[in-house]
Symmetry: C2
């Protein structure tokens, strides 16, 4: 008999041509049954749903059946039949089974119901579980939504460098990259490290943001976005921090802060809508298992326009809340960097929808943000979300060479690292704006997971870079 | 008068509603004309084409006109009119001009015709040139083609780690990542570096490939691809090497080497077709300026099926060529790792189309490739292209635990770094296959550029990590 071409289980489950001969390949999730018949739940990763394989035990030899255990890899041929009991519309009546890979009882995923903590320790196997299959399929879909959103709007994907000799932003929290022998580095006469012998002939670090290079691209290609890994050597062991994470940073020439807010709101709604439209089964699973409010929260974001409010007004609302007896852990006053509890109060308690806070005090924001006429605030904008707090941070950029130069000087940023950035303001400067989205923050929102280590395949955290 | 909404120049040049009031914003490429009228070529990065702005000098004040110099940033409002002379179908008769950013004569891009070498030194400004605008728009389009190709086929984009404590492949050419003080690293009693105090509590490196982690994902999600930066600390100052480059690595459960070849051929044809369909203007420019054979070569790849040939047959053809008097720099014999000249001979001279060479000697290929029955060769496949040589390298993977374990042992790869990889063969192993494409290699092919430093925005090479 001829070999039948394999069909992915995601496609198989949509078919209604009962009676067709089909082939499925995948891994055994469960096996149950009686002395006469076995029911195998087979999964191939294409969907969270399993196809049920019905095995008439009398038709197969015992040696083969012995190897059909949880985790084993099978190739199954048989007839597609209508299903009454499996929770799916169709199942396969097995005619031929081949065990491609056996799986003995040392397999760590044999039993269900492992804790997320345990699964983190076997990050190499956890994509085989329902939970992480769902999370990583959503991760793919969100990446695709992002590329499609920007492509449709004429943005160009721009690769900013990962390794950089420039240390403009926060050198203290950067990872150093080197090919020198740590044990016996070459030294200058004065005892300092001789970086001339290092690979790049100077100290080099991993990037903390592609924004500055992104501005170079926006002021030539018009509208660009980055989507790449960024790094923080912050010694924070929290459910919100990763040493290695992915960022998306669009930057657009001729956009002002209002265009920027419109873009951010359109963008995030597009992503959330994509998730609901394309990942219904995975989201339903996560909603039922981890976060009963997930679907409602996602649909909520799409329903209404985001509130847009100056920081100063936001602080007034928070101060009013304190006067009315609301307790915050951290103090609220004009000039304070808002904590997550403050952001969430505005979003979840006060407005009951997403908020874009604008015009922050310049002291708590970065040097490149456009200075307002009041000389106290800058044209920053943070998008605040339920459960997450800040999900997007951005601003209109300072386009004026003199003002930018002065601010860099005031903050003591070394001018030797800034000349190329300042050139964008020197030669044909233009108004422009952009923002950054932490990809894993978006994933926390669309998956309902509560630890950021569970939305990236191989989390890098203090004391852990396994696999 | 109300402000008119800006239209991107790419969209403007498609319009035929002459008489409409329009607004364009962009940078002055050239200005020429007479005492009565100026013609400004304005570009905003959305396309390689400029829109011509016609300025009746009598209508504008001299102070403003003085600032309309090469590189200056303008906002122009006026009437869209049919054009006879500008090379485009339409142009703008200016009614209102605002200089958003001036540009004095210290601007390095004032005159045309800079060498690629010079432009590399001002990598922060080179995206403003026709050449690099074209290259980076193509770079975006190739990335979008790749994501779309895989998404349409049910593959999931999977982020493999950038920082890794595993040094399975070629530790000698890896960059070390650390937060230790290079000058005075903490030491153990025996004088060795105390890595327990490093960020990850162990030595850590930048990834050289995401394949091994990609296999973990393929054996759970079914079909995945990576698309991320990879690093080689190779001290090679050649037009073919970068220390930081982007790789695409698809990996598919249940695929054998034939499926893998089909996927690779479909994939690369899809990318080339996308470039021809979507980037005609940019490709025509590069064809005319740098590589007169570019369009013909791109169309050539689409026309015919790739030749598929075992390495052993390929070597016979090369040996025959040598016997017939063809001179190669490097010797040809069974067991030799083919040089670019050999690959190009097969592709450009002998077959005159792309070639997929298979079943290489195991000694010159990686440990994870599926071993053939002859015990001498492995199920490798390299796709060889005109001008480029090897553009894709891949294989069916060794699925057998015992064989793989033995090969890892033979090659002396530390088993402590391999346990998690071996688990894929231990628990429900399955046939699978994949390949790697160097993104910049693809870009060299579709742009016709000859130096790899000119197809990535900020090249990282020995002694250079600027911007």
């Amino acid at each position: 008999m001829e070999t039948i071409r394999r069909t992915k289980i995601a496609d198989l489950l949509k078919r209604r041509d009962f009676g067709a001969q089909v082939c499925a390949k995948g891994w055994v999730r469960t096996r149950r049954g009686s002395k006469q018949v076995s029911f195998i739940a087979l999964n191939d990763g294409s969907t969270i749903n399993n196809v049920q394989i019905v095995v008439d035990l009398a038709q197969f030899n015992e040696e083969l059946l012995k190897h059909i255990t949880t985790g084993a890899c099978l190739s199954v041929e048989g007839e597609l039949v209508e299903s009454l009991g499996s929770g799916q519309a169709c199942e396969i009546q097995a005619r031929k089974i081949e065990v491609l890979g056996t799986c003995d009882n040392s397999y760590p995923l044999q039993k269900k119901g492992h804790s997320l903590e345990f699964l983190r320790e076997i990050a190499h196997l956890r994509p085989r579980t329902n939970t992480f299959g769902a999370v990583f399929r959503l991760r793919h879909h969100m990446a695709m939504a992002i590329h499609t959103f920007f492509h449709e709007r004429g943005f160009f994907y721009f690769h900013t460098p990962i390794i950089t000799a420039s240390d403009a932003e926060g050198a203290g929290q950067m990872f150093q990259v080197t090919t020198l022998d740590m044990n016996q580095p070459p030294r200058n006469e004065d005892g300092s490290i001789n970086y001339d012998e290092d690979f790049f002939a100077s100290p080099a670090n991993l990037t903390v943001s592609g924004q500055l290079e992104g501005e170079l691209a926006a002021t030539s290609l018009g509208a660009i976005y980055t989507f790449g890994p960024t790094f923080r050597a912050e010694n924070s062991n929290t459910p919100r921090h990763l040493a290695e994470f992915w960022m998306i940073e669009p930057e657009v020439a001729f956009n002002d802060i209002v265009d920027n807010m419109n873009l951010a709101e359109d963008f995030i709604k597009y992503c959330v809508k994509w998730a609901l439209d394309n990942c219904a089964d995975d989201i339903k699973f996560l909603n039922d298992m981890f976060d009963k409010g997930l679907i409602e929260r996602l649909e909520g974001v799409l329903k209404e326009e985001f509130i847009r409010l100056p920081y100063t007004e936001g602080v007034k609302i928070l101060e009013e809340a304190v006067r009315n007896g609301h307790k915050f852990e951290f103090p609220v006053f004009w000039g304070a960097d808002l904590a997550s509890e403050h952001e969430r109060y505005l979003v979840e308690e006060h407005f009951k929808r997403p908020v874009i806070l604008t015009d922050y005090p310049k002291e708590i924001k970065a040097f490149y943000m456009k200075q307002n006429e009041d000389e106290k605030t800058v044209r920053a904008m943070d998008v605040l979300f339920p459960k997450i707090g800040e999900i997007i941070g951005g601003s209109e950029r300072e386009a004026d060479y003199e003002k930018l130069y002065k601010r860099i000087e005031e903050l003591g940023i070394p001018m030797k690292d800034m000349w190329w950035y300042l050139d964008t303001r020197k030669f044909g400067t233009c108004p422009h704006a952009g923002f950054g989205l932490g990809f894993e923050r978006l994933l926390l929102f669309v998956t309902g997971m509560s630890n950021i280590r569970d939305v990236i395949p191989f989390p890098r955290t203090p004391r852990s870079a396994n696999f």
